[in-house]
C-alpha cells in the first residue's frame, strides 16, 4: 500500500483483490469458484460473493472429511467454506503467508495453521501439538513476524519453531554443561548461577526445510485432539501402568530416578 501524502490507501474490489494470494502482510485472499477450503474457526474477516461456512460434522461434508481430514477428534475447530467469491483471512494481525506443497509434506505447529485446500490431507503429527499436511495444494499459515526458511542441520529455539518439511528427525538437544555434574543439575533445577535460557533446542538433520518465525512469542496453541491411548503412541493419555509418566507431572517422593541422573549420581 502506498503512503505517499495525498494518495489514499488502496481500495480493493472483487476485481482487484488477488486470487489465492496476500493482500498485505497480514491478510490473505482466497478465491472460491465452487470449490472448498478448510479454515480454522473465526479466521474469515470478510467476503464477496456467496459462501457457506459449515462445521465439519455436517452431513454433506462427510466424504470430504473422510478424504482430507484425519484428526477426527479436533474436527470441531475447523470449518469448510464453500461457494464462489473472494474471501479474506486474517489472524490477530499476525503475519500470514501461503505455501505450496507438491507431493510434499509439512509439519506445522497447530496454532499456526489457518487454512488449507482439501487436496491436502491434514493429519495429527506424532509430535504432540503439531499437525502434518500431506499431498499437493496450498495452505495458509500465520506466524509472529515473517517466516525464515532454514536448511538443516540446524538447532532452533523451541519458541521460534513454526514447522518443518521433509525432515524426518526432529529431536531435543540439550547443551552439555546443562546436564552434566552437580552444578549443572542445580542450575537446571533452579536457574541460579546463570542460565542463558538457550540450553534447550530442537535439532533437525537430514534433507529438508525448517520454518522459523522471527520472534519467540508463541501463537496460542490450538487443540489437536487427543490420540488414542494405545501402547506405543506418544502423547496418548491414560498410558498403561509401567509406562513412564507424562512430562510435567510432579514427581512423587521416592521416584528420584530422573533427578539422580540429572545430578550425575
Amino acid at each position: 500500500m502506498s503512503h505517499y501524502p495525498g494518495a489514499g490507501p488502496t481500495v480493493y474490489d472483487p476485481m482487484t483483490l488477488p486470487s489465492d494470494d496476500n493482500v498485505n502482510n497480514y491478510t490473505f485472499c482466497v478465491e472460491l469458484k465452487g470449490s472448498q477450503w478448510f479454515l480454522q474457526k473465526g479466521k474469515m474477516i470478510a467476503y464477496y460473493g456467496q459462501m457457506d461456512f459449515n462445521g465439519i460434522g455436517h452431513g454433506r461434508l462427510d466424504g470430504l472429511v473422510r478424504t482430507s481430514f484425519h484428526s477426527p477428534l479436533h474436527a470441531s475447530d475447523w470449518v469448510v467454506a464453500q461457494g464462489s467469491g473472494k474471501m479474506l483471512l486474517a489472524d490477530r494481525a499476525f503475519d500470514v503467508n501461503s505455501y505450496d506443497l507438491e507431493e510434499g509434506n509439512l509439519t506445522i505447529r497447530s496454532g499456526n495453521l489457518l487454512a488449507f485446500q482439501p487436496s491436502l490431507a491434514l493429519k495429527q503429527s506424532i509430535v504432540p501439538g503439531f499437525l502434518t499436511l500431506i499431498g499437493t495444494g496450498k495452505f495458509v499459515a500465520a506466524s509472529n513476524g515473517p517466516v525464515v526458511f532454514m536448511e538443516p542441520p540446524i538447532r532452533v529455539d523451541p519458541q521460534a519453531l513454526v514447522g518443518w518439511a521433509d525432515c524426518p528427525s526432529p529431536c531435543h538437544h540439550y547443551d552439555h554443561g546443562y546436564m552434566a555434574g552437580l552444578m549443572g543439575g542445580l542450575r537446571a533445577m533452579t536457574g541460579l548461577g546463570g542460565a542463558s535460557g538457550e540450553e534447550h533446542q530442537f535439532e533437525f538433520v537430514g534433507a529438508g526445510t525448517v520454518l522459523l518465525q522471527s520472534t519467540e512469542v508463541l501463537m496460542a496453541e490450538q487443540a489437536t485432539g487427543v490420540v488414542p491411548s494405545e501402547p506405543g503412541v506418544p502423547g496418548g493419555y491414560g498410558a498403561p501402568a509401567g509406562q513412564p509418566q507424562q512430562p510435567g507431572v510432579p514427581r512423587l517422593p521416592g521416584q528420584l530416578g530422573d533427578l539422580q541422573r540429572r545430578f550425575g549420581l
Binding site: H3, Y26, T27, K41, Y48, G55
Partner: protein, 210 residues
C-alpha cells in the same frame, strides 16, 4: 494536512488551523501548538448528553497552531480517510483524529453494534476533510458496489463510509447449539455504494466462538 509517517504515526501539518484528536494521543510537536480539551467531543451540550447516554464517549482535544504535530495511540495502525461530503461511521475507540471542520455525531447501529460487543451506537464523521482511524494491523479497504455486496465479520469491522445499507446475517442453526457451528454465525452484509474498512484481526465478540 494529514500524512502518515510510517504506518503508526500520524503527522499533521498545520498553518493556523485546527484538528480534533483523541485526548492524549499527541506524541510530539514542532512549532507553536495549543491543546484544548473539548468536553463532549465538541458537539455541544446535546452531543455531550447523547454520548453519555449512548456509551459512545470519547475524550477529544482540539489542537491548533502553526507547525507539525504527531499523533499515535498504542502502536495501532493508522489509516487515512478522506471525506467529500459523505459520512464515515466508525467506533469512537477507533477514531484518532479529524479535521476540525468535520462534524461528529452519534448514530444508532442496531444489531450490528450488539454483535460486535461495542454498543448499539457508533460515531459518525461528516463533511469535507480528512480523518484518521486506527486498526489492529493495517486495514484493508473494500469497495462495495451494487453488483458486489460485501459480508464482514463483526469482529473485524472497523468503519465504513458512503451510502451503504447494512443488514445483519445470522447463520445460527441447531448445529451451532450442538457445538458444530460454522464459526461465522454472525455477519454483517453491506449493500449499496461505499467503502468498508476491515482489520486483519478479530475483536472478541459474543459470537466469537459460535
Amino acid at each position: 494536512m494529514f500524512r502518515l509517517q510510517g504506518s503508526k504515526v500520524l503527522a499533521v501539518d498545520m498553518t493556523g488551523d485546527a484538528v480534533k484528536a483523541k485526548n492524549g494521543s499527541m506524541v510530539a510537536y514542532d512549532g507553536q501548538m495549543a491543546f484544548k480539551k473539548m468536553s463532549g467531543g465538541g458537539e455541544g451540550i446535546r452531543g455531550m448528553v447523547t454520548r453519555r447516554i449512548t456509551g459512545e464517549q470519547m475524550t477529544v482535544m482540539e489542537v491548533s497552531g502553526h507547525g507539525t504535530c504527531w499523533f499515535a495511540d498504542r502502536a495501532s495502525e493508522i489509516n487515512l480517510v478522506s471525506l467529500q461530503g459523505d459520512k464515515l461511521y466508525v467506533e469512537s475507540s477507533n477514531l484518532l483524529a479529524t479535521d476540525a471542520g468535520l462534524r461528529t455525531g452519534t448514530s444508532f447501529t442496531g444489531l450490528r453494534g450488539a454483535s460486535q460487543g461495542n454498543g448499539l451506537f457508533t460515531t459518525t464523521v461528516e463533511g469535507h476533510g480528512q480523518a484518521a482511524i486506527m486498526s489492529d494491523g493495517p486495514a484493508v479497504v473494500l469497495r462495495v458496489s451494487r453488483q458486489y455486496p460485501l459480508t464482514v465479520d463483526p469482529g473485524a469491522y472497523i468503519a465504513h463510509q458512503g451510502n451503504l445499507s447494512q443488514s445483519f446475517q445470522s447463520g445460527v442453526t441447531f448445529r451451532t447449539f450442538m457445538g458444530e457451528g460454522g464459526g461465522e454465525a454472525f455477519q454483517i452484509r453491506f449493500e449499496g455504494d461505499g467503502l468498508v474498512y476491515v482489520q486483519p484481526s478479530e475483536r472478541n465478540t459474543i459470537a466469537g466462538d459460535v
